[in-house]
Amino acid sequence: MSEDRRLLLILCIIGFLLGMVLCNAITIMFSSTPDHIVIVAPELSARFGEPLAIVLQTLIGGLIGLIAFSATAVFYDDRFSLVAATLIHMAVSVSALVIGGYFLEWVGHTLGELLLFMILPMSMYVLIWFSVYISYRVQIKQINESLERRRSGKDRYRPFILSEQPSVAVRDPIFFSRLADCSAILEEVLFMDMRKMIPVIAMIGVLVMFIWGYLEGTFAHSWLAVMAAGIVIVAVSIIGKGKQGS
């Protein structure tokens, strides 16, 4: 089996398993109240009976996960730019989510409700693109700094042969990072020590969820706080890994 096919198979398996777990977890979080746990949407339960509804929800959730995860293969295909890969993944995943959500009664059947349902996952993609972009940017900055060190002879352990002056202008890395490049400044300020804050971000997310749910009297919306914290944690982790070269 080729490496690409093996990667796709692994992504499909992970996606299916995660999808099965997450769709049930999200339904419980979204539909339950402090005194009543709801496993499947009442409309779906009424149509198929609770046992079959749970099976259907688990299988469809698995399918959504499988589609979303297998679509990440576009990020490994260099025929697509990062923006194109992100847009393709968004189109595939959000479509699967909306169709699955429509069938599982996670969302109302009017166009407005469907569009509203699409906004949150679509906005997440802006953050995904930004995180991946910054991750690559950090790695490329490190590579350029290493090349600069070799050229200036500071890295004596790795001899560098440069027979002629570079014909392409090389930007000063210090100037580049500290003065000229706004995204690099943002990256330095925002993400330098943020990985240490991951447990704190997680705790704040949970705390906000509880307070929000308590004040509102239902946890129907407060789970958004945990999701927001999760998105921030994923972004911080990706950038941290980029720095380490993982």
Binding site: R137, P159, I161, L162, P166, S167
Partner: protein
């Protein structure tokens, strides 16, 4: 520096032993130079004439239209060996940047990322190419 040669007819392979009072930076550089030493030049063809290409002069080796080419400081040559075979024969300083291209890390000038997420690499000789996203970490590993 003294260089000794010991002939051993039973030796399985060529072995280099460096004897020094400590592992200084000079010794490290010597180790690096020996490790990246590649004895046999590559045969390249330009307008039907065969040329022996010194590996240090290679800027990049790439495949295009099912043929393999080497851009060197002395010009461009057609290579008859496949890319995967050359990868095994080249010293460690040669890094694969995509499925179809290997570059000499000593000849890289800089890398650049645009907003669309395309990673460009600038090499000596005004050569510009692209780094595959899945090879970025390998390039980094080779250089840092």
């Amino acid at each position: 520096m003294r260089v000794d040669f010991l002939e051993d007819k039973d030796a399985y392979d060529t072995r280099v032993i460096i004897q020094a009072p400590e592992r200084s930076q000079d010794v490290e550089e010597l180790i690096e130079a020996i490790m990246s030493f590649s004895p046999s030049p590559i045969s390249g063809y330009s307008e039907g004439v065969m040329t022996r290409i010194v590996k240090d002069s290679i800027i990049r080796i790439y495949s295009k239209d099912k043929k393999v080419y080497a851009d060197t400081t002395d010009g461009s040559f057609l290579i008859k060996s496949p890319l995967y075979q050359l990868e095994g024969e080249l010293p460690r300083k040669f890094v694969r940047i995509s499925n179809s291209e290997i570059v000499n890390s000593d000849r890289i000038i800089r890398l650049d990322l645009n907003l669309a997420g395309t990673i460009r690499i600038f090499l000596e000789g005004d050569i510009e190419s692209h780094v595959s996203r899945r090879y970025v970490s390998k390039v980094k590993e080779a250089l840092i």
